[in-house]
């Protein structure tokens, strides 16, 4: 457990170094595209008269370089072909660097796959001095009983979501309170070690340093949910190319995440198979003519499939839009039903607010919100990411929710377990650091 702690701490230090240098790259490794933003951090902007900076205080960074490239070698949000992915990352990073005209050495990355699984942890300690100090928070977090999440799993996020002192619960920051027992709830996300290693390897091969890593479902929730949705409870469904991420937020904390290994690429696949066209043509047809609700008008709307096989009869085929919708809809329904099953498993029904926000590139299918409302519940909206300074117009769409969210994450990461000190008794006995720590805590 300690070496995980050390690695995450090292990444936090790297992030701090990047902040000091003022430039950090954001890398969203997706199944259909790899997006790279270069952020410049130059302190807080001028505070306006209402005491709040512009863009809800998010204006302390500015996007100075942005590039996307078609993703290669990524399947289901996981890196599959390492050299291909590395080349794609290089392409995106180089283009973004060129636009920013500055060299970037630190990168914060996110990806959607790797089978995230979330755990709720609880821990409890007795307060020695009566008043909760910084060390007590570290102690209670260290006292959380970590479940056995199996071989080859790595902790990605560990957010303390709730603190309780004696019988008072629902505290976000217990420091300074007085009581006898301090209890904490922690939300832990684990992913496959292999995926992280692959990503790390690709990033190292690009001469970059990883300064942070995040789940794409989590960061797109940060970007696409508005503040009151995060506070009152909402689910963000990030429909990507190869995976659909789900994250549930309440009280500004993510309390659940999962992902469905289905996405927009599967819809394209179905079209390609159903119409016997190449994937490129299928993607184009889906983008131009796709939908999920067929009307009478769609029977008459004939779509030229257009292929380049050289066979005149094959290349001049047409299909009605209704047929196309007939191919698309079952797959979309399947994705949404999977999402529904996961939300049910997570107990989303019991949350006070049932808001569902669809975002991600595949959420732009016309009529999807209506279909989602039938399957997931009535409160469905399409979410676009928060606007950040300097972001190109082309990168403000729903497909860039996780990219933008990752920028916000880079600027203001929520406190995680490793942001608190390890309590002295967790250090090995007879270590010098333990002695130093004991002196620090007691004097």
């Amino acid at each position: 457990m300690t070496d995980l702690y050390q690695m995450q701490r090292a990444m936090r230090n790297m992030r701090r170094a990047a902040m000091q240098r003022g430039v950090v790259a954001i890398l969203d490794v997706g199944t259909s595209k790899i997006a790279c933003l270069v952020l410049r951090f130059d302190g807080e902007g001028p505070i306006q008269e209402d005491g709040m900076g512009s863009l809800a205080g998010q204006s302390q960074f500015r996007v100075i370089g942005a590039a996307t490239t078609r993703s290669r070698g990524v399947r289901f949000g996981e890196i599959d072909a390492i050299p291909e992915t590395e080349r794609a990352i290089r392409t995106a990073v180089q283009a973004a660097q060129k636009m920013a005209n500055v060299r970037v050495d630190h990168v914060i990355a996110c990806f959607s796959g790797a089978r995230p699984r979330s755990y709720g942890l609880a821990g409890e300690v007795t307060l020695a001095s009566g008043q909760v100090s910084e060390q007590d928070v570290g102690r209670v977090l260290a006292a959380c009983d970590v479940p056995d999440f199996g071989e080859n799993r790595e902790v990605l996020h560990a957010h303390p979501v709730n603190f309780a002192i004696d019988h008072r619960s629902g505290m976000s920051d217990p420091r300074g309170h007085v009581g006898n027992r301090l209890a904490a709830d922690m939300h832990l996300v684990t992913i496959d070690t292999q995926s992280v290693q692959n990503l790390l390897y690709c990033i190292r091969r690009c001469d970059l340093e990883l300064a942070g890593i995040a789940s794409s479902a989590y960061v797109s929730g940060i970007a696409a949910l508005v503040e009151d949705e995060q506070e009152l409870g909402a689910a963000c469904i990030d429909m990507g190319g190869g995976a659909t991420g789900i994250s549930i937020f309440i009280k500004k904390h993510m309390i659940f995440t999962d992902s469905v290994r289905l996405g927009g690429d599967h819809v394209t696949n179905d079209i390609a198979k159903g119409l016997h066209v190449p994937m490129a043509v299928a993607e184009r047809i889906k983008t131009y003519h796709g939908g999920v609700f067929a009307t009478g008008m769609d029977d008459r709307e004939m779509i030229e499939i257009g292929a380049d096989s050289g066979d005149w009869d094959k290349d001049r085929r047409t299909v009605s839009r209704t047929e196309l919708i007939g191919i698309i809809r079952p797959r979309v329904e399947e994705i949404l039903e999977e999402v529904r099953a996961m939300l049910d498993a997570a107990g989303f029904d019991h949350l006070p607010s049932q808001q569902i926000v669809l975002t991600g590139g595949a959420s732009q299918l016309p009529g999807l919100d209506g279909l989602a409302a039938k399957i997931l519940g009535p409160n469905v909206r399409l979410g676009r990411p928060l606007r950040v300074q300097g972001l190109p117009q082309a990168a403000t769409g729903a497909a860039f929710a996780s990219t933008v969210g990752l920028s916000l994450f880079a600027a203001h990461p929520q406190d995680e377990w490793w942001d608190f000190e390890i309590p002295a008794e967790r250090y090995p006995a007879r270590s010098l650091r333990r002695a130093v720590k004991w002196f620090k805590d007691n004097w």
């Binding site: 050390q6 078609r70 289901f76 995106a92 180089q94 380049d308 729903a398």
Partner: protein, 408 residues
């Protein structure tokens, strides 16, 4: 739990492009290829779907190449079409123009897609930069490196080339020689030559002296004439108060001289010198009669107090014809010597005031016309007269006569 180490390459079943083995935990030899949702829990095998997912990657006609953004997933043609500038006022113009704009609009419409025959073996360009070009690009974007390349390298190149060229002594001398030759050629052009020296404002003996001091052989180039040094040399002549040297067009060195004006004569044991009003020597005078208009001073330290002497003489203007000169006594005060061996002893402080006083007495009482030997004004509270020997005798005799008359 394992830590993340990048050095650990994930195990690949492909080695050298060939499939080496199949994971043992999978049931069939190829079934792991199909399972899109392999892993714990729900095993959903979708053979048809997965077969296409595994199909060799088809290059999509997707304009999101490196650095180019697309409006989410809408292809670029559509974006262009949507954002094309609308014709501002199509019907307010003549029919020909309308037809032309219509033609343009038709031409701008997306053409019907011609079937593209994919050439066998034609490689699609990989947009990814090679590792080398990526690293070079990053190096180029490093600020210090960039500054070094843009400033440091050119400077180093120029300095290095110059150092290599000038490292050889022969080349250095040749270069210096060439430069000197060129300089000489320019300096010796007739336009810059000075042939004559003209002296203005000097009397002939002073002019001769000045000519004797200036030893620069003419003609000479004006670049080589050190006018300041020449001026200093000329001003060494005592009779020259100041000199102004200019080079006039036509190769003339014009020397404008201001001579010192003799104001007083200074008699020393050896000679008679003319001094100007500041006490600076002008010339030696052989004969006192040559300048009867100038008063004479004498005595040790007299030449150092010429302004005071002139002031005293100025005050003594009414009897100037009788003044033979001033004598500096003991290096601290003046005696005014008149004819008939009369002396006026002036005080050390305020001699001019004393002279004015004696002038006033003289004007009232004709004091100096009497037979006095010395008028001693050294103590201003107590001026003293000394009669001449004859006057003393005469006074004595007169006193005796008066006594006789009185019958005493």
């Amino acid at each position: 739990m394992q830590s993340l180490r990048a050095t650990e390459r994930p195990v690949s079943h492909y080695r050298n492009g060939r499939l080496r083995g199949v994971p043992e935990d999978k049931p069939g030899r190829w079934s792991w290829l199909w399972s899109s949702r392999s892993g714990q829990g729900a095993e959903r095998v979708e053979p048809v779907v997965a077969a296409l997912e595994m199909a060799p990657e088809v290059e999509a006609d997707f304009p999101a190449e490196a650095g180019v953004f697309v409006q989410d997933t809408v292809p670029q043609e559509l974006v262009d079409q949507t954002w094309a500038e609308p014709d501002p006022e199509p019907w307010g113009r003549p029919a020909s123009a309308r037809a032309a704009s219509l033609k343009r609009a038709v031409a701008a419409m997306p053409a019907r897609r011609e079937p593209q025959v994919r050439r066998v073996g034609a490689e699609r360009r990989d947009p990814a930069p090679s590792r080398l070009s990526y690293r070079l690009e990053r190096l180029w974007l490093t600020p210090y490196f960039r500054a070094f390349m843009r400033v440091g390298v050119p400077v180093l190149l120029v300095v290095g080339a110059a150092a290599v060229y000038l490292g050889d002594a022969g080349r250095r001398d040749g270069l210096a020689q060439k430069f000197a030759d060129l300089r000489g050629q320019i300096e010796n052009r007739p336009e810059f030559m000075v042939r004559l020296m003209s002296i203005d404002g000097a009397s002939p003996p002073v002019a001769d002296a000045v000519r004797g001091m200036v030893t620069v052989p003419l003609p000479a180039s004006s670049f080589r004439l050190d006018l300041e040094a020449m001026r200093a040399t000329i001003e060494q002549v005592d009779a020259v108060e100041s000199a102004r040297l200019t080079i006039k067009p036509g190769g003339v060195l014009a020397v404008a001289i201001t001579e010192r004006k003799p104001a007083i004569l200074w008699r020393t044991e050896a000679s008679l010198e003319m001094l100007d009003a500041t006490g600076h020597r002008v010339a030696t005078l052989l004969d006192r009669a040559a300048r009867p208009d100038l008063p004479v001073i004498a005595g040790a330290g007299a030449e150092e107090n010429v302004p005071e002497a002139i002031a005293i003489l100025g005050a003594a203007k009414p009897i100037l014809t009788r003044v033979r000169g001033l004598v500096r006594m003991g290096g601290r005060r003046w005696d005014m010597v008149l004819d008939r061996d009369q002396r006026v002893l002036l005080p050390e402080a305020d001699p001019v005031q004393a002279v004015e006083r004696i002038m006033a007495i003289d004007a009232a009482e004709e004091l100096l016309a009497r037979d006095l030997a010395v008028v001693d004004l050294r103590n201003p509270d107590r001026p003293t007269l000394r009669l001449s020997a004859a006057a003393v005798e005469a006074t004595k005799k007169l006193t005796e006569d008066i006594t006789k008359v009185a019958g005493q």
